[in-house]
Symmetry: C4
């Protein structure tokens, strides 16, 4: 099977996730600038989640570029990743509406952690299908970002219950880590 429809379906889900999050930003009843202020935490959590979903889309896009065929198992590994990402709007809304309180920040981190693990599983599953000599396997190399991120998430989740703001700083640092696109794949791909 080619990757075309896997990408099309994933793009649809990514696009919807990134867009319906904005529905949590409910228009305030008042009509002054001051009425927007209480929305600030919801807005900030929206921005953070937009960046995270953007990073996943970006890396997903890069990863699938290095893949030529997918098997049935890959489709399920992909759906598993989309499942965790589909929970992002829910935890984003909960975290924003409660102004980054302890439990919502911790649960937000749990969803990010599960999405990161699901991404690793998808990556391994694609490498298993393509073979360890495949372009993807070579491009991945040591994958230090993929190893460090879950550790930062775990520490942040633990911290969240005492210092939710510090935990958020942990999530932001993972986002910054990944904002630099994954040059490994671009570098290792033959010119098309």
């Amino acid at each position: 099977m080619t990757t075309g429809r896997l990408e099309a379906f994933s793009d649809g889900v990514f696009a919807i996730i990134i867009t319906i999050m904005v529905l949590e930003l409910k228009a305030p009843h008042g009509d002054t600038l001051a009425d927007l202020l209480p929305l600030l935490p919801v807005f900030l959590s929206y921005v953070l989640s937009f960046i995270f979903v953007g990073i996943y889309w970006n890396n997903h896009h890069h990863m699938l570029q290095a893949v030529e065929h997918v098997a049935g198992g890959n489709l399920w590994a992909n759906l598993h990743l989309l499942f965790w990402l589909s929970l992002v709007p829910f935890v984003t809304g909960w975290m924003g509406e409660n102004n980054f309180a302890a439990a919502p920040v911790a649960i937000y981190g749990v969803v990010l952690l599960c999405a990161a693990l699901a991404y690793k599983i998808l990556q391994s599953s694609l490498i298993r299908t393509g073979g360890h000599d495949s372009a993807l396997a070579r491009a991945m190399g040591r994958d230090w970002k993929g190893r460090v991120s879950p550790v930062i998430y775990l520490v942040s989740i633990g911290l969240a219950l005492w210092q939710p703001r510090v935990a958020c700083a942990g999530y932001v640092s993972v986002a910054i880590l990944w904002l630099i696109p994954d040059r490994r794949i671009e570098r290792n791909l033959p010119a098309r």
Copy 2:
């Protein structure tokens, strides 16, 4: 007509159905972990429906791989399937919010049953267009899963009014049955 746009439109609908279901998961007003507990039934019904829509997408994807051309009638058979799947978010929400009560569980099963029958109709309609010697017709073979599922649904719907939890176990068993991707098509398709 080629299958391209049928797949693109279906992918869009699948992606939206699987994603808007999460809108039923409304962020609770409290900010403690205990505030998440009442959402557990809604979450479980979301997981079940995510898996069902995922199975349909997966099988739809496999089935269309084996098809080269579609006619006008196929488009309507496809829309008919999408219609029943579009009701999944509604029955998922109703079942989850009422903690798997009798009537919602029965109606959930009715929608799954109708979707299963609509899938059979689409399959027959594609085989009729492609001819009984087509790759799809050969790949389908005896289709025992497609025959057993409606029976399990029917029994579960009947049971739901007395034992809704047992009915849910019936739905879960159908999901497990289908989670194994449809190797018949992969096996019977010529290498592309």
Copy 3:
């Protein structure tokens, strides 16, 4: 310009319109079958609109099959059609929640009428771009369905204020008219 991205964007909008209409079907608070009864008019108006949007997608799909290139003006004619279709979920919800009362039924017809006119405009605009000898121009022929539908809509809208149920029968009759796919295009297209 090729038609690829016009179709992809339109498919996305069609898919979203057809799916978000179901959000009007709100899960009732009770958990008995009787609690579903008050939803019947909303459900019926959903079914009617699902069929109408399905017809538009189907005909749009057939029409674009007969077209090879689009110009800037076609993109706007297409957006104009999508605008009227985007109002379908709103009028569907209003009509269903008010149990097919006079004014909502009339406005529902106005939106259908505008969508039908927008479709005619798009068709003319594509024929103008492709030339009067194009496959589309030949395939359209006398287009009696496209001429009769606006008349039925107009009569139904007028009737709606006295006899909304009769007006609904008018809309249903247009739907039945179009449910038969547009064989003109399939017949006139060269085999690909």
Copy 4:
């Protein structure tokens, strides 16, 4: 990397943005034509935003036609544009529900201004990737519309706090300016 998946993902986001705005149009409880009247400002702001998102989709489509390859940085410039556009439904709803009051009209303009700047950034980023001799660079030429629009937005935002209706007229004039599709690209593209 080819532009295929960037376009597919963007089309998905554009399609969702343009369609979920209509969810702000909530069906009124009454069933007379007079019950629709209070929705008029929400409807008008919907029409304006529909046209703006349509313009962005249209120009995005034209611009990507002139591009053959994208790099990692372009993907983020594109996501940055989509971020600002994703805020359009929120500001549209706020402006409409408050009947074009001062602050909502000003904030609406701020989002349009940021989207316009993000579009310029995306354009420059694509030209940087493609080279200053690329089809896109030649097609852009002096880009007077892209230079004039931010000025009109800035003036309108300033005016909004005193004369919100005049500011709206400013936004409408930008829309009219852009409604004429970007012939520069069509003219400069080699025939495909």
